[in-house]
């Protein structure tokens, strides 16, 4: 076996091993350096994996050479490669931004630990995506969750502790539910390998155990992805976490959870079982729609911009869940597209907020007054990200909403299409509040504010440009998303 054959495990192992390295080095600058290095290496591996999967099809990697279903299998299909690419790309950009922001927000003696926890969370997320083993999913889920709790609790605001604690409780319940779900599937089929599970489940699909397992799995994953009304932990966790953590988690963690949901309901169970036999589609569509409208409305009233975008994230998750719930290839394409696109826009927005927090130490709307003149590049990035969030062409946000509306119209579900547009209008309102404050408000004359440093503007604008680039040059993202979607729904049929 050549080096290239080991890529599926290397993408996870490298950040995992970087974590103890950070602790051992115990110097802020060194810890940052190895972290960004490992993020970049993972990113290049992920690119390589996308090429490999595109050329050769799904990669199946046997851990330690043990043949599945006995050994642990890592399975990289098109969707997995795609999500790995998103997560590693965002991690690399966030790491670039992290150096200054972390120096400002984290006490110096904890910085090395911070990077260690960050790398663990990163590795955990990658592991969830890469693995083809149900129990392994749980293990990586716990790795990423436990480290996220630690990361969130490092926020400067003391409410961060409370937010982290709440997230700990909710996350643990979610993880437990997932474990219970996996356990009951194991009980009925005797296997933990996802592909094997998929092959064996249809025989026992009619048992209560499997159905209960399915319920526990969906609710557990729903908790992790902050599905309405299980989203209540998310706003505080995002609002009070350090800027770097918010940017990273908002752009990746929920995406991985959505990936997990798709994997479970379409990969392990089948489309017929999950969305036709079980009424999960109705549940997802209903909760998704309520989430879109309700969370957007809350966002309109928020005074803290970080919290506002956190609620907007809940709404955006609603769009993704809605796409899955529509249970068509177009709907799934829209969801997968939005997974990618939302990572781009929220990554940009939260990095910009981080830059603002770095300069003025607050993200309250009151302090945005007149920022358009003081921090023109950062504010322009927020406006651009906001346009994408609203879904104005030629941004990526438009592409995914377009597909979502198409999917709804294909099924002749006009009211849904209408509600999607209402969601966009609400986004206009809450973005406009920001624009109004920043460009029409009077700057505070007693406060001296500078533009954010280049190391923050660089990742920020790379993401902003990506928002527009992938909004115009859509072959790559739509091609990947639609073939991943047809691959997945093809499995079900």
């Amino acid at each position: 076996m050549s080096f290239m054959d080991h890529l599926p495990i290397l993408v996870v192992i490298i950040p995992l091993l970087t974590a103890p390295l950070c602790v051992l080095l115990n110097r802020p600058i060194l810890a940052w350096f190895v972290s960004i290095l490992s993020a970049l290496i993972s990113f290049f591996i992920a690119i390589q994996l996308v090429f490999q999967v595109n050329e050769l099809g799904t990669i199946s990697y046997w851990l330690g050479g043990w043949e599945p279903p006995w050994g642990i299998e890592y399975r990289i299909d098109l969707l997995a490669a795609y999500v790995l690419l998103i997560v590693t790309a965002i991690a690399s950009l966030v790491m670039l931004f992290a150096k200054k922001s972390v120096e400002k927000e984290i006490p110096e003696n904890r910085i090395a630990y911070f990077y260690a926890a960050f790398m663990l969370a990163f590795a955990g997320l990658l592991g969830i995506v890469a693995t083809g083993d149900a129990f392994n999913v749980f293990v990586f889920l716990e790795i990423s969750s436990l480290s996220s709790y630690a990361l969130i609790s490092m926020g400067k605001d003391r409410r961060a502790l409370n937010a982290s604690f709440t997230y700990l409780i909710m996350g643990t319940i979610g993880a437990t539910f997932i474990l219970i779900g996996i356990g009951s599937l194991y009980m009925m089929t005797g296997t933990l390998n996802m592909a094997d599970l998929a092959a064996r489940l249809p025989e026992v699909a009619d048992t209560r155990t499997v159905r209960a397992g399915f319920a526990f799995l969906t609710v557990g994953v729903g908790l992790k992805l902050a599905l309405f009304p299980l989203h209540l932990w998310l706003p505080n966790a995002y609002a009070y976490a350090p800027s770097v953590v918010t940017a990273f988690l908002a752009a990746t963690a929920t995406k991985v959870a959505v990936y997990l949901l798709i994997r479970i309901i379409l990969g392990v169970f089948t489309l017929d079982f999950s969305l036709q036999l079980m009424p999960l589609d109705t549940l997802l569509v209903t909760l998704g729609l309520i989430g879109i409208i309700s969370a957007s409305l809350v966002a309109v009233y928020q005074g803290d911009i970080k919290r506002m975008f956190a609620y907007s994230s809940v709404a955006q998750i609603g769009y993704m869940v809605l796409g899955i719930g529509l249970a068509t290839t177009t709907g799934l394409t829209a969801s997968i597209l939005h997974l990618f696109n939302h990572a781009l826009m929220k990554g940009a927005l939260f990095i910009a907020l981080g830059a603002i927090a770095f300069r003025i130490g607050s993200t309250s709307i009151k302090d945005f007054s007149g920022l358009g003149k003081r921090m023109p590049w950062t504010m322009a990035a927020i406006v651009a990200g906001g346009l994408s969030l609203i879904g104005i062409p030629p941004t990526v946000g438009f592409i995914s909403k377009w597909y979502l509306v198409l999917a709804a119209l294909e099924l002749e579900l006009w009211p849904i299409a209408l509600l999607i547009l209402v969601g966009s209008i609400l986004a206009v309102i809450y973005i406009w509040r920001l624009v109004e404050a920043a460009y029409f408000g009077k700057p505070n004359p007693y406060q001296y504010v500078q533009e954010a440093p280049l190391s923050m503007l660089l990742p920020l604008w790379i993401l902003v440009i990506a928002n527009f680039y992938f909004g115009i040059q859509t072959d790559f993202s739509i091609g990947l998303a639609s073939s991943a979607a047809s691959e997945l729904s093809g499995v079900g049929r």
């Binding site: 299980l230 309700s294 009233y301």
Partner: protein
């Protein structure tokens, strides 16, 4: 010659003009419409530029007789507007005005609905800054209301386009019609921008609040883009005839009792749009030619009137008719130019309004719409009254106002811009063949020969109605100088009072409706705030226990659903 999208030079110039100063800025701003017009000149009817985006076939530029004429018209209007605004040193307005012109040119050349939508929203986003640029609280609020309505129009257009194309019609922008639901959505979207009755509020609300120079741009583009879009998408739709007639008639009453002279012009703008909408509704070649020709001459004379009022506002800082008067002593050139505009809008022979309005009116007769014809005649008399007489009379004649002391002619560039527009008004009116040759359909129509009798009749109706109502022997513009207090009484008392009596009946109803909808709005906002506000139920930081309760509820629900 390199092929160039005609809208691009305007956008590039918009950005360049906003960062340059002095004569360089002036050259850039003046050159932009010329280059854009040249780019249109380079193209032949039938030319299209296509691109493929997201698997959709888009046509950002499509050239035919209709779009060419509007393209030239908008560039001409932009050029006049730019000259008029040369003395203003406000980068925000330069940027907004040129980008706005670019959006208008782009919109009329758009060959598919998606491109149209993009320019449609750009029109809104760029033009609103011409209102904000007044930099008053009132203007800001009016601008926000304007923006809200314009953006909604765009969203309607987008949703209409999605419905329309998903019904298998494709995205290309040709005849749409009202057969499909998508068609209706698009129709309403166009209707908002075309200031259909009840949807017109934004126009009279926002246009008078813009800067003196900004209103000139505003009056030229947005509504005319909508007229173009209607002419392309819905020619021959009978509903449009009714809508057009209402549009032509109802603003007259408002215009008469309005004191803000720019608002008077805004109402008369709607009235003129009514003629065009009627023309589209009739839908014959003559009618569509009439609509196009009327749009062309309308942009010029309405621009001229707006410019002359802008000049008054610029010089005196006052635009209320009751506070102005007697300015002809200090502003003779502006007065003369304003009267040319007034004569054009009133459709005096040898002025541009005559040769274009006559086409629409003849088309109405040809198709046997006698009632429509009568209504249009009534509207024409009304226009003559409020735009032809009231505007110049109150601003330049009437009683001497306190502004006479300080008044003077506006800057040379303003005079020049008005002069160009006035030259076009007279030129087109005297040599209509030049304009007729450019119309979308070949025509041998002659306002002065074939419909000679008709024109006479129209004028007779003018005289008779105006005579009866004005209690005046002569109504021709030269007579205006001798207008005595009788007419003043008429303006101040008779008409307002009779209209007022009608309005007094209507106002309580109107207010009740308004109050009801405000109450509903306020109530729903309260409910929203209670649930979604900062400390609302849905926005609160919840205790962990309640969160877990929700988990339990959802789990229970799922189990229940999955078991049964």
């Amino acid at each position: 010659m390199i092929e160039l999208w005609p809208a691009i030079p305007l956008f590039i110039a918009a950005i360049m003009a906003s960062v340059t100063r002095g004569s360089l800025r002036a050259i850039i701003m003046l050159a932009a419409p010329l280059i854009s017009a040249y780019a249109i000149f380079q193209l032949e009817p039938g030319d299209v530029f296509s691109v493929e985006l997201m698997g959709l076939q888009l046509t950002p530029v499509r050239i035919d007789a209709l779009s060419i004429l509007f393209g030239y018209l908008f560039n001409l209007a932009a050029l006049i507007g730019v000259i008029y605004a040369l003395h203003v040193k406000d980068p925000m307005q330069d940027l907004a005005a040129l980008a706005y012109a670019g959006s208008a040119v782009g919109a009329v050349l758009a060959g598919d609905l998606l491109t149209l939508f993009v320019y449609w929203e750009l029109l809104a986003l760029t033009s609103v800054f011409l209102i904000f640029a007044r930099r008053t609280e009132r203007a800001y609020k009016a601008g926000m209301r304007y923006l809200l309505i314009q953006i909604s129009s765009g969203l309607l257009l987008l949703s209409g386009a999605i419905f329309y194309s998903s019904a298998g019609n494709g995205l290309s922008f040709n005849y749409i019609g009202l057969e499909s639901s998508g068609g209706w959505l698009i129709f309403i979207a166009f209707g908002i921008k075309a200031a259909f009755p009840l949807l017109h509020g934004w126009l009279t609300d926002a246009y008078p609040e813009a800067t003196p120079t900004g209103t000139v741009f505003l009056a030229s583009f947005t509504t005319k883009v909508a007229i173009y879009a209607l002419a392309r998408g819905f020619p021959g739709t009978d509903l449009l005839i009714i809508i057009g007639v209402i549009m032509a008639c109802f603003p007259i009453f408002y215009a008469v009792i309005e004191n803000d002279l720019r608002k008077v012009l805004a109402y008369s703008l709607i009235n003129q749009l009514g003629y065009m909408v009627v023309g589209i509704g009739i839908g014959t070649e003559l009618a569509l030619n009439g609509t196009t020709a009327h749009a062309f001459s309308h942009v010029l004379y309405k621009g001229l009137l707006m410019m002359s009022m802008g000049a008054v506002l610029h010089v005196t800082g006052e635009i209320r008719g009751s506070e102005l008067g007697g300015l002809y002593k200090k502003m003779p050139k502006t007065t003369l130019l304003c009267i040319i505009g007034a004569a054009s809008i009133s459709a005096f022979p040898l002025f541009s309004g005559f040769i274009s309005k006559a086409m629409v009116v003849s088309a109405a007769i040809q198709e046997g719409h006698t009632l429509v014809w009568l209504a249009l005649l009534f509207a024409a008399a009304g226009v003559f009254h409020h735009a032809g007489i009231k505007i110049p009379f109150f601003a330049f004649f009437a009683h001497d106002s306190k502004h006479i002391e300080t008044a003077h002619e506006p800057p040379g560039n303003m005079i020049l811009a008005m002069g160009i527009a006035a030259a076009f008004c007279v030129g087109i009116g005297s040599f209509p063949g030049l304009l007729y040759a450019m119309l979308p359909f070949a025509t041998d129509y002659s306002a002065y020969d074939v419909s000679h009798v008709l024109a006479q009749m129209q004028l007779l109706a003018f005289s008779a109605l105006a005579f009866a109502w004005l209690k005046l022997a002569n109504i021709y513009p030269p007579e205006l100088k001798s207008v005595n207090l009788d007419t003043e009484w008429f303006y101040r008392h008779l008409f307002p009072q009779s209209v007022k009596k009608l309005l007094d009946r209507l106002i309580p109803v109107d207010q009740a409706i308004k109050k009801f909808s405000f109450d509903i709005f306020a109530f729903s906002q309260q409910v929203l705030a209670r649930h979604h506000g900062s400390y609302g139920i849905l926005a609160r930081s919840w205790p962990t226990g309640s969160m877990v309760l929700w988990v339990a509820v959802l789990l229970g629900l799922s189990l229940l659903l999955y078991y049964f």
